[in-house]
Symmetry: C2
């Protein structure tokens, strides 16, 4: 973990407290831990996965709390669901930087990347006609370098 990351993380946590207060959400140990764990998870974890990780810090936390917390934070716009074809809900913290996803068909790992020239591209007319769009994301699918070289571990 770099200095910079530590700094950004700290910044996010301060922001988290602020936004909780704004939304009338109490700052519980559980909430903070779930959020912090998601913040430092770079792999867009499913609920169960995140539950396991949070458990390492709060051994008595119930999975119900993780579900509830994620739903609450999502509603408040502090975290996002990730698009997948797996039939599993996955989350990521809002890191404040627009990014998109690279999805490996073998290992199902998801990697972030930024693409400014896409972000600034005007949407096609069909989008405006459809309704009010609030977000856009790109997903590239394929086989990641790791899987191609090692045959994958799926």
């Amino acid at each position: 973990m770099h200095e910079l990351d530590q700094h950004l993380l700290q910044e996010r946590l301060v922001d988290f407290e602020k936004r909780c207060r704004e939304n009338g959400l109490k700052m519980t140990h559980q909430r903070l831990t779930v959020y912090r764990e998601l913040l430092s998870s770079r792999d867009h974890p499913a609920v169960e996965t995140l539950f396991q990780r949070v458990r390492r810090h709060i051994s008595t936390i119930s999975i119900d709390t993780v579900y509830r917390t994620l739903a609450t934070l999502e509603e408040a716009g502090m975290i996002n669901r990730v698009d997948t074809t797996e039939g599993v809900v996955r989350y990521e913290a809002d890191h404040g930087v627009s990014h998109h996803h690279l999805v490996c068909k073998k290992c199902h790992r998801i990697k972030d990347f930024v693409w400014e020239s896409f972000d600034t591209m005007p949407p096609p007319p069909a989008v405006d006609h459809w309704g009010e769009s609030v977000g856009r994301s790109v997903v590239f699918t394929g086989i990641c370098r790791h899987c191609r070289e090692q045959g994958g571990e799926k």
Copy 2:
């Protein structure tokens, strides 16, 4: 259903038979019906939904067959899974036209649109470095016209 649609549908079904033969897949009534139903479904149905529809034609079909068929056809590249944040697997038939998705946060309906200037855009360097990409898709999320006007029916 327009003349044109009928024609395209027919074309797709012929292609389906050909590809089944190529892959050594027998042309069963069930397979054909599942595929045809998906072809004419414009709403990217989940397995259960598609099962209900196919049932109208083959009342004795088992859901297991639908699961198996979809998995088989997906493997053969004749149908695709759709990206969602719902935690549900959804499918669409390969209509032979590159398209992308508009997803309504209220009613969860998914609409297709084409975006050629995106399709022809070169990927950012990060993608090439990541591995071998075989597909790309864009998802716009927001509130569709229908939901905005009527308050949605979630």
